[in-house]
C-alpha cells in the first residue's frame, strides 16, 4: 500500500479544467517533486490534498483511507501538513507559539483547566514548551523562540514554517516552493535540511519547486504537470531527457 495515492484527480474552476486525471503516488520516506511551468496546477494539487477545495472527481487516499470531503484541519490531524508558497506564519505570535499551535491537538487539557491553571495545564504546557524548543534546535533557532515570528528574516521564516508543519507530526509533508526567494547558498543548505528532515522524522515529502538544481538533487522521483495534465513521471534522470518536458519548459 502506498502512503499517498492519487487517482484520476481533477478539478474544474468556472469551466476551466485546472487539473485533469492526475495519478500520483508517494511511498513512505520518499522525497517526490512536483514540477511544471507557472500555472500548471501544482499548488492546486496541494490545495486538493489539504481539503481547501473539493475535487470535481477522482480519489485521494492516505494509507488506504480516502480523505476526500474531510476539512483541512482534519486532514492535518490524520497526517498531511503543508507550507505555503507565500509564507503564512502567525506573525504576531512568538516563534515558539507558532510551533506549539501545531502541537495543540495533541494536548488534552480542556478550556476550564486552562483558565483555572489546573495541574494538567502546567504539566502539558511544560512538556510542549520543551518539545517546541527541541524542535527549534534542529535549525539552530532555539535562541529565537521568544521572538515574534514577524521579526525573523525571510529565510528563517521559511524554516519556521517547515518546522511548524513538522510539529503537527505528519506522515506526509507538503512543501510549496521552499527555496523561493533564497540565494544559491541558502538553497544548498535547504537541500541538506530536507534530507535531514526525512531521515529524522521519517516523513515522506512532496515538494513543489522551480529551482531545478534542488529538485534534481533532492528528489527521488518527479512528476511534471503542464496545463493541468500530467506529462511525465519518473526519476530525475528520465525527466531531464524527456522530450515532452523539455517542450513544455522551452515551448515548442
Amino acid at each position: 500500500m502506498h502512503l499517498l495515492e492519487i487517482k484520476d484527480l481533477g478539478i474544474i474552476f468556472g469551466g476551466l479544467q485546472a487539473l485533469n486525471d492526475l495519478h500520483l503516488v508517494v511511498d513512505d520516506k520518499e522525497i517526490v517533486g512536483l514540477i511544471g511551468p507557472n500555472g500548471a496546477g501544482k499548488t492546486t494539487v496541494f490545495n486538493l490534498l489539504t481539503g481547501v477545495y473539493p475535487p470535481s472527481g477522482g480519489a485521494i487516499r492516505l494509507e488506504g483511507n480516502s480523505i476526500i470531503g474531510k476539512k483541512p484541519f482534519q486532514i492535518n490531524r490524520i497526517g498531511i501538513a503543508r507550507t505555503f508558497q507565500n509564507i503564512r506564519l502567525f506573525k504576531y505570535m512568538s516563534v515558539a507559539d507558532n510551533i506549539k499551535l501545531a502541537m495543540n491537538h495533541n494536548m488534552k487539557y480542556n478550556v476550564v483547566s486552562g483558565m483555572l491553571r489546573l495541574p494538567s495545564f502546567w504539566r502539558e504546557e511544560r512538556a510542549i514548551d520543551k518539545k517546541a524548543r527541541e524542535l527549534l534546535k534542529i535549525f539552530d533557532m532555539e535562541e529565537l523562540a521568544d521572538q515574534m515570528a514577524s521579526s525573523l528574516p525571510y529565510g528563517q521564516q521559511r524554516k519556521l514554517e517547515i518546522l511548524r508543519a513538522l510539529a503537527s507530526n505528519p506522515k506526509l509533508l507538503l512543501l510549496d516552493e521552499p527555496a523561493a526567494g533564497m540565494n544559491p547558498t541558502e538553497t544548498r543548505d535547504l537541500m541538506e535540511v530536507i534530507r535531514r528532515i526525512r531521515d529524522r522524522f521519517n516523513v515522506a515529502i512532496l515538494l513543489i519547486e522551480h529551482d531545478m538544481s534542488l529538485v534534481m538533487n533532492v528528489c527521488e522521483r518527479l512528476y511534471v504537470l503542464d496545463y493541468g495534465n500530467l506529462i511525465a513521471a519518473g526519476t530525475p534522470e528520465q525527466i531531464r531527457t524527456d522530450e515532452k518536458v523539455i517542450a513544455a519548459y522551452l515551448g515548442k
Binding site: T43, N47, V52, F84
Partner: protein
Amino acid sequence: MDFLKHIINGLGLGSIYALVALGYSMVYGIVQLINFAHGDIIMVGGYTLYVVMASLGLPLWVAVPASILLCALVGMIIERVAYQRLLVHNAARISLLITAMGVSIFLQNSFMLMFGSAPKHISVFPSQLIRLGSLEMDSSTAINIVVSVMMMAALQILVNKSKIGKAMKATSEDSGAAKLMGINTYKVIAFTFALGSAMAAVGAILYCNTYPQIKPDMGNLLGLKAFVAAVLGGIGSIPGAMLGGYILGVAESLTMAYISTTLTDAVVFGILILMLSVKPSGLMGKNRKEKV
C-alpha cells in the same frame, strides 16, 4: 387593490433606499469600504434643503442643486480627510470601518449642535392624490419612482459610456492594474465618493418629499437599511442596488400593512441575514474567492 397600493407605496419608499444604496455600492465596489458615514450624507442633504428653503427663503430649484453640490463636496472632503491616508497605506479593513463610524458620529453630533436635536419640518413638493383608474397614490410616491428610475438610467450610461465611468469599472476590477494602465485611481476614488454622495442628496430630497421631517440622526437607520439594500442586490452592482432598494421598500410596506408597523426593522434585518446566509454575494453580485 389594496395590495397593489401597498406595493406601489413600497416602490416609492424603495426608491429612496435604492438611491442611497447606489452610493454604498459604488464606494464598496471601488475601495471595499462600508462607508458608514454615507447615511449621514442624506442628513446633510436634508438640512441643506431646509436651510436654503426655510431659512434663506429661496425656491426649490436653487435648493436642489445646492444640496446635491454640497453633499458631493462633503463626500469628497470625507474621503480626503478621513479615508485617503488609510487607503494609501493599505490599512486593515477594520480601521477603515471604524474611521467611517467616527465620521458618522462626528457629522451627527455637529449637526445636533448647529440645529438642535428636535426634528425640523420641511416641505418640498405640495402633496396631491393621483388617480390612475381605481388606483390611488400620493404624488410623492410617483415622483420618487420616476426620479429613481431616471437617476439609475443616467448612472448606468455614465458608468458604461463615459471615460471616468470606465475608469471606475477598471479600478473596481483591479485597482493595481488600473494604476499601471495610467488611471489616476485617487481621482477615481474621489469622483466615486462625490457621485455616491450626490445620489444620496437626491435620496434626501425624495426622503423630505415623503416624510417632511429631518433630524440629525435620520441617517442612522436610513443608512443601515440602504446598506442592507446594497448587500441584498449584490454589493458593487448598480442594478443590484436598485433592485435591493425596491425589494426592501416593498417588504417594509407589506410588513407595515399586514404584520405590524413596529416590526418592519426586524423584517428588514431578517432579509439581510437570510440573504447573507444563503448567498453572501447578493442577488446580482459576483462571487469572490480568497486565494490560497
